[in-house]
């Protein structure tokens, strides 16, 4: 059961409804939570919108916070840039209570933010948005040659991979030698 269904005590008053069928069943008051990213800017988001995120939904489902408690305890996502979190929050608000259509025109399209967006969405476990974002990533190489794909997705060549591996081994060897020398020094 979600927090919205449990009905936290400080939730906002229900909007009057005009539809006759909903008049019979009184609307459950909506509860809100607060999140912030690396920039500390706090976003107020309804529990309904946050249901898209399996991570946040799992965090809030048993909290039973009052409005004041929720406000005083925003969820910190220090690993997510403020503008990325804003995008995610906007998307969650736009899709509150409804599934994402296959071609969603409301989704973030900034290619330069795509990498960070994918990581954030993956962390927040927003399955539908993640699928769309990964589709956007895949579309970046549609019709491209392997050489172009290598550039677009910054894939090192075999020679570069081998050089990096050698370098890593060399570094690890040096570190191990340093540790051995330090241990020998300690023993003396």
């Amino acid at each position: 059961m979600s927090s919205t269904e449990q009905g936290t005590s400080s939730a906002a008053p229900a909007e009057p409804t005009t539809a006759p069928e909903s008049a019979a069943a009184p609307e459950v008051p909506e509860s809100f939570y607060y999140v912030h990213g690396k920039d500390k800017v706090v976003h107020k988001v309804s529990a309904g919108a946050l249901q898209h995120s399996a991570l946040i939904h799992g965090m809030i489902s048993n909290l039973g916070y009052t409005e004041e408690q929720a406000k005083a305890n925003p969820f910190p996502f220090e690993n997510i840039d403020g503008d990325i979190l804003q995008m995610v929050v906007d998307w969650c608000n736009q899709h509150k209570g409804k599934p994402t259509p296959p071609e969603d025109t409301n989704l973030p399209k900034q290619k330069e933010k795509l990498f960070d967006l994918v990581l954030a969405v993956n962390y927040l476990e927003i399955k539908e948005l993640l699928t769309y974002c990964c589709k956007q990533v895949a579309m970046m190489v549609k019709g491209k040659s392997p050489e172009e794909i290598r550039e677009i997705w910054m894939i090192p060549t075999d020679a570069e991979d081998e050089a990096a591996e050698k370098e890593a081994k060399k570094r690890a060897g040096k570190e191990a030698a340093g540790e051995t020398a330090a241990a020998a020094g300690d023993a003396k």
């Binding site: 994918v118 990533v137 040659s145 794909i149 894939i155």
Partner: protein, 271 residues
């Protein structure tokens, strides 16, 4: 704006691979050994592979992606379709047989929808069959064409019948007169154009739904024996259709107590 794809955690990489079509994923696999390993470790795909001899096709939910081979570097990964195919790409390989096995491994495909033995040497077909047996791949349908290019069909048959063929085995090629073979595994449907070697014992062991034997050597006594068994409850529970063309079936001895030709018994007939 480039993206450092390999900086994604493994689960995210797999999610991106999931969204790539076979052409993009294949080209990606050719970018480096590391990314190829990453793609190959991404689990098996429910895509199917089709071998048509002149083309290798990846079938994704009924949509076909046609892969052709070329040795000309200027034509690598071109999508123009000189033969009029839609969804077409050329990949750098000497022949379709190696390309087929590479696609099988790259996409971790477990099912071959259709395998057509038509153009190629015995060595190439043997390699293909052995590759499929080693990988324990399910082959839904096998067709051996009657073209002159199909050589040593007797030896080939030994290999092909070891494959895990599940739906249909169709052989249009004639076998040499001394050919003898024992089929141990039966797909749902078999159609053998030159079936003189298919004995009554093999017929009695079969588990097929549909059997068509042309050029058979079976006699009235064989058919009678088979029908007597088929009549018994629980025998050949799968069998729905049996068609045998044999010059040894005559009007000299009875089948189920009747002398051929037997006609107009419902929709069935023996003639």
């Amino acid at each position: 704006m480039p993206i450092a794809l390999l900086k994604f955690p493994t689960d995210l990489l797999r999610e991106v691979f999931q969204q790539c079509d076979p052409f993009e994923l294949y080209k990606l696999s050719k970018c480096s050994k590391r990314i190829q390993k990453s793609i190959r470790s991404g689990g098996t795909k429910n895509w199917k592979l089709i071998f048509r001899g002149n083309l290798v096709i990846v079938s994704v939910d009924g949509l076909h992606y046609n892969f052709d081979v070329t040795e000309n570097p200027d034509e690598y990964f071109k999508t123009e379709n000189p033969r009029g195919y839609e969804n077409y790409i050329t990949i750098p390989f000497d022949d379709n047989f190696d390309a087929f096995l590479d696609l099988l491994d790259t996409f971790r495909i477990r099912i071959v929808e259709y395998l057509r033995i038509e153009f190629g040497s015995f060595e190439q077909f043997s390699k293909l069959a052995r590759g499929l047996i080693e990988r324990n791949i399910e082959i839904e349908e096998v067709l051996i064409e009657s073209t002159p290019q199909v050589k040593k069909v007797d030896k080939l048959m030994t290999l092909l019948t070891q494959m895990n063929t599940t739906q249909k085995f169709k052989c249009l090629k004639k076998f040499p007169p001394k050919f003898r073979h024992q089929m141990d595994k039966f797909p749902k449907n078999i159609l053998i154009y030159s079936s003189f070697w298919f004995t009554i014992d093999q017929l009695l062991e079969s588990t097929c739904v549909r059997i068509e034997l042309h050029g058979s050597m079976l006699k009235n006594q064989d058919i009678d024996l088979f029908f007597q068994k088929w009549k018994r409850s629980g025998s050949f529970p799968n069998l729905r259709w049996l068609e045998i063309f044999s010059k040894n079936i005559d009007d000299k001895s009875p089948i189920l107590g009747m002398i051929p030709p037997i006609e107009n018994y419902g929709n069935r007939s023996i003639s």
